[in-house]
């Protein structure tokens, strides 16, 4: 049996297999990401949803080659366009980060330099990585700012980050992310700091970039609504592991893992919902994980001795639908 949820289409852009990432701490090794496997096809939007500590951000950092500093990739494989990235020298990683994988973070203010105009900052990226001339880079920067919906882009290119609103700053970040024409954008909670009307605009923008330019997107969020609006495929993470992986509709409408289903039932809806069924307890401490299924102590179905004693593998319960549970919930009608 294979334990790798994959889309059986063209060659994936990014293919991650059995990735484990550990962080040494005083209390012992914390495995923030535990045997995570997934793939992202060109132009596909893949969502990672989970609560704090579920491992979604560390997974993204690993894909960018950015965990080496504090933690360590213990095992696994990260292939980008078929090429193994783990073990490559830092310079190679940097080249991939510069040209192929762009990132958009939650807080653009910390990612932008406050003392340079945004036009200058985007031009710098273009001149460094694409070796464009000064004038050419400037023109392209204005073009990019216009493309992400910044009105009056030519004039605003001369403005500094603090002169933009939160939503406009996130657009600047996206313009910068697009500057080297990446094939994958990693967006980590890109709209969490924004008001809801602005969030909707930024999500539209990212979605349209994917549709129009064929950029693949790895979007990370705690918000199942964001997943629903964005993702083609969703990976649900819990305590460092992927617990369910399927198309967005399957995960959100017909979840088959007890955690996914319980999470959806605990969510208040703007359409109204009479009863909120809370999930008891809190996610486990990664230092002292339950011996068996990591969701067992909170599982509304509670299961049996098997659930208590051994951690289930991911298994394919339906074509392209993977669940890490001994229980396979019947799909809801």
């Amino acid at each position: 049996m294979t334990t790798t949820p994959a889309n059986d289409r063209a060659e994936p852009l990014l293919e991650v297999r059995d990735l484990s990432v550990g962080f040494p701490t005083r209390e012992g090794l914390v495995r923030a990401v535990d045997r995570v496997s997934f793939s992202i096809n060109p132009g596909e939007v893949v969502g990672f949803v989970g609560e704090s500590g579920s491992g979604k951000t560390v997974t993204a950092l690993a894909v960018m080659g950015l965990v080496a500093a504090q933690g360590a990739i213990e095992s696994g494989s990260i292939r980008f366009r078929g090429r193994e990235m783990i073990g490559l020298p830092e310079g190679e990683w940097r080249r991939v980060r510069a040209r192929e994988v762009a990132t958009v973070f939650q807080d653009p203010m910390t990612a932008l330099n406050p003392v340079f105009s945004v036009g200058h900052q985007i031009s710098e990226v273009l001149r460094t990585h694409l070796a464009l001339g000064r004038q050419e880079a400037r023109e392209r920067a204005v073009e990019l700012l216009g493309m992400v919906g910044i009105p009056d882009a030519r004039a605003r290119a001369g403005d500094y980050p603090h002169q933009f609103s939160g939503g406009m700053r996130q657009r600047v970040m996206i313009a910068m992310a697009l500057s080297c024409d990446p094939s994958l954008i990693i967006a980590d909670e890109p709209t969490t700091a924004l008001d809801v009307t602005i969030q909707a605009e930024i999500l539209d923008l990212i979605r349209s970039l994917s549709t129009d330019m064929g950029v693949a997107v790895m979007i990370i969020s705690h918000d199942l609504g964001v997943m629903s609006a964005m993702a083609d495929r969703i990976n649900v993470m819990y305590a460092g592991q992927i617990v369910e992986s399927a198309s967005a509709v399957r995960v959100l409408v017909g979840p088959r893992h007890p955690y996914t289903r319980a999470l959806l039932q605990s969510l208040p809806r703007v359409e109204g919902q009479a009863i909120l069924t809370a999930i008891e307890g809190a996610p486990p401490d990664l230092i002292s994980l339950p011996m068996g299924c990591r969701f067992y102590p909170r599982c509304p179905f509670r299961g049996d001795d098997r659930c208590r004693d051994s951690n289930p593998d991911l298994r394919e319960v339906d074509t392209g639908h993977w669940v890490r549970s001994f229980y396979d919930l019947e799909p809801v009608a």
């Binding site: 539209d204 199942l224 964001v226």
Partner: protein, 343 residues
Amino acid sequence: MTALLDVRELAVHYPVRARGLTRRRTGAVRAVDGVSFTVERGRTLGLVGESGGGKSTTGRAILMLQRPTAGSVLFEGVDLAGVAEGELRNLRRRMQLVFQDPYASLDPRMTVGRLVGEALDIHGLAVGRSRAGRVAGLLELVGLDPKHAGRYPHEFSGGQRQRIGIARALAVEPIFLVCDEPVSALDVSIQAQVMNLLADLRDRLGLSYVFISHDLAVVRHISDRVAVMYLGKIVEMADRDDLYDQPLHPYTKALLSSVPSPDPNVQRARERVMLRGELPSPADPPPGCRFHTRCPHAQELCRVVEPPLVSASAGHVVACHFWRELRSTPVEVTRARTSRRTS
């Protein structure tokens, strides 16, 4: 019976001063600008809207943590705006605040027992054995193990810390709570626990809430009545289902249509009301209707005359010149991008 809380024409203006020696007053940020509402006993009023709307300032002004510039706050018939600081302490026993961030509002060096007992001491409510009993009772009330009274805040999870915050607020036996984004810092699976606890306490203890949140789904769930704020004003207020099922103000419609639904079928069918431009500065709100710079339906009248809050139906008020027209004619909307998802 009169309302428990009756807020009339409440205003909070912050002075804006020039730089330099004179610090001359050059203007004012009108964070809250003429807000009126009532809260009945045992009921919850939700305040919703985006940042800069004045929700939190309204909450703090109700409790006189921020003195209002104008208007009155009648609590059980007493105008708090006219009460001297010294006498407020007694009144504050009746009204408490639950904060967003349970991490920041708990002293890390105090045990939970002391944190919860502190309020009892300040108000001289219980000493000795009865104090210990009260603390244990409060912890139990909010779903914490009384045996953990000797632990420190860092030993608890985020959701448990918010329970400690609620126990502290309830220690003085208030009848009214302002809850300011009480579940916004919590993980999704914990949010429902705390919301259910707040609803349960309200029903068991007969509490009344002003519940402030930017999260429209959370507000719908907990509130009986909801007010939508934009740049310091209430633009629409109605009973919960009325407001969410029949929104009249273009801003309310835009907000509701912007929340992405976890149900992909609902999400795909949703028609988005797109807003133009950006949120203006509350220091310099637009003339006329404050929303006109972003409203998809703004007319000349909106740029000049500020629309009063008028009654559209029983209990449903709206501040828009054109609410009737917008209700009868189909709203001009931009269909949100259709997704290419396959199942």
